[in-house]
């Protein structure tokens, strides 16, 4: 029997090439691995090797022929036919190739994802009547969450720069070394790329690491592992590989630390499928969502804010306070306009709402809490109620969470809009050092008030 030798593809994009040279002639005996011909494109030359034994039969494409399409039969190889039927190349594989098939397949709308529970189905756990509250700084709420999870699950450990003996660069890990020891509270060298990879690998190996970045600015050195290793591997493995890691640390502008140390990475990470991105504002949410993040089987980016660490908020005195990931929260109910925000922006939004109330405008404030998956329904439900929406974000405006919320309102809430959605973001510049310039660059309550008045046509 004879095998058809076909023009091979040298690269994913190659469609045709030149048959530069025949190195074997008709009638030559061919052994496995023998180079039969040389194929050229404008980029590369490839040797065409035999994978079957036999005798070179008819040469169908002459040496020097240009523009030979991939898959064209260029020669025949006669084999002894002993039992080579299984190794014979089939005549129609090019037609069966996935690329070719997809190009002729009728265009169909992608099938919808499996229906998920509606927004209302999962809510914050009810706090029983009579429950006490303890005013707690955000940094302690975060620490308490980590400590509780470490007590509950011995796979949980913390690693990062200065997390152990120094007690945390921002004191978020204070006391953990004393309780859990150096095996579970690990000081790393200053080596973000390396320890983000080690943390991710440890999660793949079955542990539950909490990887602290001293600030998320330094995580840019490690972003490859967060995105390429942590976020994508479960998908690429067809669901085999778990990566339950939490990357946490302060994010956003601090105070007078300049452009390299002042940036909101929320939109960066929220753009990546396979990641959970959480950015809480107050202490109760910080605690409840940190516990949920550590328990999640998915990789989580947990964005804190240095300026909020020291602020105290009530935390309910309940055992095991765990909040649902992916659910926004109405932090102030109102009827005239919706202000959507997250992280430190929620504080500005609440200030603005207070000022607006004094001006006769009743604003609803929504804290997104989770940036991915984003609670679209909470935004749309509030918009349906107030018909006006402003989003306040401590971060750059371009390709921001604000942009995303505006797109959602256009695509799915258009009929409810009585005014264009406005965004209040930082100025579109690297953050300056000078006190006056820094103040000018960052969002504040006054700018939110002004935007709300515009969407309410109050001026």
């Amino acid at each position: 029997m004879s095998i058809e030798l076909k023009m091979p593809a040298l690269s994913p994009t190659m469609e045709e090439g030149t048959l530069a040279r025949w190195l074997k002639q008709e009638g030559d005996a061919i052994g496995i691995g023998d180079v039969i011909a040389e194929i050229e494109t404008d980029k590369a030359t490839m040797e065409f090797e035999a994978i079957d034994e036999g005798t070179l039969g008819k040469i169908l494409v002459a040496e020097g022929a240009e523009g030979v399409k991939v898959g064209t039969v260029i020669a025949l190889l006669a084999t002894d036919g002993e039992d080579d039927s299984t190794t014979a190349v089939r005549a129609e594989p090019v037609e069966a190739a996935p690329a070719a098939e997809s190009s002729v397949a009728p265009i169909e709308a992608p099938v919808k994802q499996v229906a998920k529970p509606a927004s209302q189905a999962v809510t914050d756990p009810a706090i029983p009547a009579g429950t006490g509250f303890t005013s707690t700084p955000v940094r302690e709420a975060l620490r308490d969450a980590m400590a509780e999870e470490m007590r509950r699950d011995d796979r949980v450990f913390v690693m990062g720069e200065e997390v152990a003996e120094y007690q945390g660069a921002y004191k978020v890990t204070q006391g953990l070394l004393e309780e859990f020891g150096p095996k579970r509270v690990i000081d790393t060298p200053i080596t973000e790329y390396g320890f983000a990879g080690i943390g991710t690998g440890a999660a793949m190996g079955g542990l539950r690491p909490v990887v602290e970045f001293m600030t998320f600015n330094f995580a840019m050195q490690a972003i490859d592992h967060i995105i390429n290793s942590a976020a994508k591997t479960n998908y690429m493995s067809g669901g085999q590989m778990r990566c339950p890691v939490v990357f946490r640390g302060p994010n956003g502008a601090a105070s007078r630390v300049g452009a390299q140390h002042s940036q909101n990475y929320g939109p960066w990470y929220a753009a990546v499928p396979g990641l959970i991105v959480i950015a809480p504002y107050d202490s109760a949410d910080a605690k409840g969502l940190m516990k949920a993040a550590i328990r999640s089987d998915d990789p989580v980016v947990f964005l804190e804010n240095e300026l909020v660490y020291g602020r105290s908020f009530d935390v309910p005195d309940v055992d095991d306070y765990v909040l649902p990931i992916g659910k926004a929260r109405i932090v102030r109910a109102g009827s005239d306009v919706t202000i959507v925000s997250y992280s430190i922006g929620v504080g500005f939004a609440l200030d603005a709402a207070q000022q607006l109330a004094e001006q006769g405008i009743d604003a609803e404030v929504i804290d997104l809490r989770t940036l991915r998956p984003l609670d679209k329904q909470a935004i749309l439900d509030s918009l349906a109620k107030t018909n006006r929406l402003v989003i306040a974000e401590e971060g750059w405006p371009t390709c921001s969470i604000a942009s995303e919320v505006m797109a959602i309102c256009m695509e799915e809430g258009f009929d409810h809009l009585d005014a264009p959605v406005l965004r209040v973001c930082d100025e579109d510049v690297p953050l300056p050092y000078a006190a006056n310039l820094e103040k000018l660059a960052l969002i504040d309550a006054a700018r939110i008030v002004a935007a709300v008045r515009r969407v309410c046509y109050a001026d």
Binding site: A97, S237, I276
Partner: protein
């Protein structure tokens, strides 16, 4: 005269310091004393079969690529078979973990993972080990503790450090074998990982598969120190230089290195000198080396031919070896047939495995 003072200064300060420096070379010395593993006849035949399976599988993959059945990037392991087979044969199955880069087909096959599901992944089919969502560079088998299959050069080294940390944390006695190439050896995160692995005495064996070229760049054009096994010295990681074209030498080195790591002495760095016969990936201009150079390695250093010679010397009939080759060809042809005829992934597969939880 300053001379006596200088002489004193160059002397080791204490016996302890001397011992620690000695440890950096001791594994290499142990290996050199008896480089080849004394394999039993059965073991040797298994090595031969495994290497031949990788060779024939990769040849078939190259062929399927040429036919358009495999797309994208496809990095073949032909020429390097002795490295994966020699090292992985020394692992404790179900205990130790393995991680590598994108040239990963051989490592999967060396584990005895079904060629059907590997080939079906290459053709992007539902039956592929990653359901067609990973492709050539992204294959995993958590069942075998094979953790991929990583496409970013050098990333697997840090991830391997994490797998090793998990072994130590759990005190399960396992080690991680982390492979990377001479190209990845110049990535910064490799040295970040060396530092932490040595500092924390992690149970990890770093393996540089030095196939002489990072894509088209020869090691001497990319690396100030081309003796890669020395590169752990600054981190107090002992190094070993191994002939990666001889499966018995590779296995011999594995015995020495794994023992050292299992005894709690921290990481070892093995450099396996090897050679890839094919291009870096399928689209390789092959302009950076001569055909004679490749041919010379094939004729004189081929790992499969080398072992074949030993087998024949030991009395194996050539016909028996031919029969093995024939059976392997049939097995590979069957895998190709399976991969070609398996259905493409279901459309619903597009949305699965993005997240584990529901939120």
């Amino acid at each position: 005269m300053a001379k006596p003072a200088m002489t004193r200064k160059n002397k080791p300060k204490s016996d302890a310091a001397e011992d620690r420096d000695f440890a950096l070379h001791s594994l290499q010395e142990a290996h050199q004393q008896s480089p080849r593993y004394a394999a039993t006849a059965d073991e040797m035949l298994t090595f031969y079969e495994q290497m031949l399976l990788i060779r024939r599988f990769e040849e078939k993959a190259g062929q399927l690529y040429g036919l358009g059945l495999i797309g994208g990037f496809c990095h073949l392991y032909i020429g390097q078979e002795a490295v994966a087979v020699g090292l992985q044969s020394a692992l404790s199955e179900g205990l130790d973990s393995v991680i590598t880069g994108y040239r990963d087909h051989g490592h999967m096959l060396a584990y005895g993972i079904d060629p059907d599901v590997i080939m079906a992944e290459l053709t992007g089919r539902q039956a592929g080990i990653s359901h067609g969502k990973g492709g050539s560079m992204h294959m995993f088998s958590t069942q075998h503790k094979f953790y991929g299959g990583h496409g970013i050069v050098g990333a697997q080294v840090a991830l391997g450090g994490g797998l090793a940390l998990a072994h130590k944390y759990r005190e399960d006695g396992g080690l991680c074998l982390a492979y990377f190439g001479d190209g990845a050896a110049n990535q910064g995160q490799v040295y970040e990982t060396f530092n932490m692995a040595s500092l924390w005495q992690l149970p990890i064996v770093f393996v540089v598969e030095n196939n002489q070229y990072a894509m088209g760049t020869a090691v001497r054009r990319s690396s100030a120190e081309t003796e890669f096994y020395r590169r752990g010295t600054a981190f107090r990681i002992p190094g070993m230089k191994v002939n990666g074209m001889d499966v018995l030498e590779v296995r011999g080195a594995a015995e020495v290195a794994f023992k050292h790591v299992r005894e709690g002495n921290g990481p070892v760095l093995i450099e396996c000198s090897t050679y890839r016969y094919r291009g870096h990936s399928m689209s390789d201009p092959a302009k950076y080396r001569t055909r004679e150079e490749v041919q010379d390695v094939r004729e004189h250093k081929d790992p499969i031919e080398g072992l074949k010679k030993v087998l024949i010397e030991q009395g194996r009939a050539e016909d028996d070896l031919k029969a093995i080759d024939k059976a392997i060809r049939a097995r590979v042809a069957q895998a190709a047939d399976f991969a070609e005829n398996s259905p493409q992934p279901d459309r619903q597969e597009l949305y699965t495995d993005v997240l584990v939880g529901e939120y």
